[in-house]
Amino acid sequence: MPTDTAPATLLAPEAEEGHSLWQDAWARLRKNRLAVFSAVVLTVLAVVCGLGPFFAQDYAAQDLARYATKPSLQHWFGTDTLGRDLFARVLTGGQVSFSVGLCATVVALLVGVTFGTVSGFYGGRVDMVMMRFVDILYSIPFPIFVILLMVLFQRSFLLIFAAIGLVHWLTMARIVRSAVLSIRKMEFIEAAEATGVPRRRIIFRHVLPNVLGPVIIYTTLTIPAVMLLEAFLSYLGLGVQPPLASWGVLISEGARSMEEFPWLLLFPAGALSLTLFCLNFLGDGLRDALDPKTSKD
């Protein structure tokens, strides 16, 4: 009997250990009720926004006969000053905000992780040059640049993704680099190199899985920051163009007529704040779960 089970444990010790670490984190996360609740709320919000077009009214259909009506059974969030259904517009705005948040975060993730890994893994002069580059970019006031970029050039969805993603890859690169730097010095990497494992395999198989924790934590905290920046740009009138709406656009429209029609401000503002609130809580929870050593800041 023992001879039968022994090879199985010998074959997969690595996978089993990794598994149990992630399971620990998962258990810690599940105990954090606020984080779980936030995740549920976010999922519901994302699904409702995503499915919006299938059950809500047309977000762009204007009808001046229903000029800024109060919330009612027919129009749950009321209608705006062009008679458009606000509920449908908030859902559409949610789609834009969520997709900008996700796509720009992916941009930041890809660029930052690649840059940080190369810099940390190769070290030495390469590292110094690459990090000096990051330092210099870091001291450039980016929100100002992003605003300039958006005002001066054609506003396109792609530019929003690129501009926002470009701001956030710097921190990701720094985080990944310092994590890679410390893993690089560990013995199992040395062992892999000594046994002739090709570099690419070392990076993908041994280094990257070990920096996943900090990357996940920073990614969850990047999404709300990105959504905030998109909403900020839209609020200044630099985001998506009408009749399309994002939460920032709706908030700035609502703020203009809030004196008479406060619901036009309150519903989109509530949607954005709730989303950011949940994302921040989830990010905090993930940090506590994946990195129990560092306390909340």
Partner: protein, 307 residues
């Protein structure tokens, strides 16, 4: 330390040069021109204006002129939008307003934020921890362009405690300063709590307690100096944030400050004004970051001056 400061100042100059150059070519190559707003301008007048401001010359000539004018006489040139006013004049006029708003905001942010974080850290996982920290979480989740209009709606329009706009009486300054300050107070609260919790669990704090120092003395004399480090480090980013936040707050509350000029300048293609405000903001942020780094080393001598 002298070497550190000199090195950093040099780096700042490089950054400012880059910022200026990138902004210049971005602005000049962007579609549109400063005189687009006047729709029915005859082509001859337009050509005259372009020639008057030197906008008809090749880009490198314009760039050289901008650079020499700025370096030799610290002058950004005339504003294209506000006739007969120079950018330097306009900045001198509106900067004090923004600086005042920013100062109040920083005082509110640090004062309330650090106290709230301190209180929260003294009894972790109790009501006095959860209450301020939940508020702080709400604070960082409600962006300025949401809290601004909502505060305006509630206190300006519904309750009528404050004027809806303007910057004349002291009361006018309350809402903008509170809007801007409370957002960053939330960050300072979270950072202070984290920093204090880490310090309070260290051996030297236990030693201080063991030798019978009062709780008050332990917190303020022993722990605070280290616990406040993350907050001090955040002062730099906070200032950058307060500057870009002022774009929103000054627009919402109609404060005649620099933030509003910056956004309008970009919309109006007021080239010289864009250059002036961008370089000013970049300088402020760089110099402030340098000061923050100096304070950090003073508070924590274990850090060394490294470039």
């Amino acid at each position: 330390m002298f070497k550190f400061v000199a090195q950093r100042l040099l780096q700042t100059l490089v950054v400012l040069f880059l910022v200026g150059t990138i902004t210049f070519f971005m602005v000049v190559n962007a579609p549109g021109s400063p005189f687009d707003a006047e729709r029915n301008m005859p082509p001859e007048i337009r050509a005259n204006l372009m020639a008057y401001y030197g906008l008809d010359q090749p880009q490198h000539v314009q760039y050289w002129r901008f650079l020499t004018r700025l370096v030799l006489s610290g002058d950004f040139g005339p504003s294209y939008k506000y006739n007969n006013r120079t950018v330097t004049e306009l900045i001198a006029e509106s900067l004090p307003v923004s600086a005042e708003l920013g100062l109040y905001a920083v005082l509110i942010a640090v004062g309330i934020g650090v106290s709230a974080g301190l209180i929260a850290s003294l009894r972790p996982n109790s009501v006095t921890d959860y209450a301020p920290m939940s508020l702080a979480m709400m604070g960082i989740s409600i962006p300025l362009f949401v809290s601004g209009p909502i505060l305006l709606l509630v206190f300006g329009i519904w309750l009528q405690w404050f004027n809806v706009s303007g910057w004349n009486s002291p009361a006018d300054k309350v809402l903008p300063a509170v809007t801007l300050g409370m957002y960053y107070a939330a960050y300072f609260a979270r950072l202070t709590r984290g920093g204090m919790l880490e310090i309070l669990s260290q051996d030297f704090v236990r030693t201080a307690r063991a030798k019978g120092a009062s709780e008050l003395r332990v917190v303020f004399r022993h722990a605070l100096r280290g616990g406040i480090l993350p907050s001090v480090a955040y002062l730099g980013p906070a200032l950058a944030g307060i500057i870009s936040g002022s774009f929103v707050v000054e627009t919402t509350f109609q404060v005649p400050g620099l933030g509003r000029y910056f956004v309008n300048a970009a919309f109006n293609r007021d080239y010289t004004m864009i250059m002036g405000t961008t370089i000013l903001f970049a300088t402020l942020i760089s110099v402030f970051n340098l000061l923050v780094d100096l304070v950090l080393v003073w508070l924590n001598p274990r850090l060394k001056f490294e470039s």
